[in-house]
């Protein structure tokens, strides 16, 4: 039983680390602040959740608290990203030349 949980926890930790790595790669490769936030938010949320799940498998006593931490992250991570993105847009952060359409600017300009 211990070894099964240990294996599962290890796999969760590896998956979490892989997603965090991809998120970091996204931060470097994406062309503008909005796309970077996109890569950063999703990857860090799932990566951290996997990390917490892994920790819960390795230390079952902590499972409830780790679950609460996960819940907090699920609520706060997207809010901070949204506020960052809004602030970036309001301060006219540079947008990638690929940007096809900007309905927000259209509406604010009106």
């Amino acid at each position: 039983m211990d070894s099964v949980l240990g294996l599962l926890g290890g796999l969760f930790l590896i998956a979490g680390a892989a997603f965090l790595l991809l998120g970091g790669l996204g931060l470097v490769r994406m062309p503008d602040v909005f796309n970077r936030i996109q890569a950063g938010t999703k990857a860090t949320t799932l990566g951290t959740l996997f990390g917490l799940a892994g920790a819960a498998c390795l230390q079952p006593d902590w499972a409830l608290k780790l679950m609460l931490i996960g819940l907090f992250i699920l609520f706060t991570n997207p809010i901070s990203s949204q506020v960052l993105a809004r602030a970036a847009h309001r301060s006219h952060a540079e947008k990638s030349a690929l940007t096809a359409v900007d309905r927000l600017e259209d509406d604010q300009g009106a």
Binding site: M30, A43, L74, A85, T99, V101
Partner: protein, 157 residues
């Protein structure tokens, strides 16, 4: 206010992980005073409808599925040498009326494939989308909002 008190106390008990008498008493006192002092500001947490418990559970799993899809999607873009992006800001509309429903909708959109809520204005949401399929309001709404809205409408209205 009772719902707020109950949620706070539940949180306290989960955090402490101990049903000892003194721990519970401190929790009751703290939860009661917070629920009383912030009954207006935090009332948003009491908008959930308990009879929607089953929907909430299904929503949670639907959300997890979308979150994993979102990550594979980001991974695909980031790992592709050509970096295939067609980003843009689109406008979508929600039928949800409650504040908590809209908050959860905006959060869910941020965490799911290629979309990020940038701004909100009443029933209008402005979404940054890494691969814009359609800038039309109806089509973008159908692609981004509708999946979550079905669940959240039952949970919060």
């Amino acid at each position: 206010m009772i719902a707020l008190f109950a949620s706070l106390l539940l949180f306290w008990l989960l955090l402490n992980g101990s049903p000892a008498g003194d721990v519970v008493m401190v929790g009751v006192a703290a939860s009661l005073s917070i629920a009383f002092l912030f009954r207006d500001g935090l009332a948003i947490f009491a908008e959930w409808r308990p009879r929607a418990l089953a929907t909430t559970v299904r929503y949670f799993f639907f959300f997890l599925k979308e979150l994993i899809k979102a990550n594979l999607n980001v991974a695909k873009i980031v790992l592709a040498p050509s970096l295939p992006l067609t980003p843009g800001f689109v406008k979508v509309r929600t039928r949800l009326k409650s504040r908590m429903g809209r908050l959860l909708l905006a959060n869910s959109i941020t965490l799911t494939p290629g979309t990020l809520t940038v701004d909100m204005d009443g029933e209008w949401l402005y979404i940054h989308w890494v691969s814009v399929d359609s800038a039309e309001i109806a089509a973008a709404t159908a692609a981004i909002v509708t999946g979550f809205e079905e669940y959240l409408e039952v949970m919060y209205g």
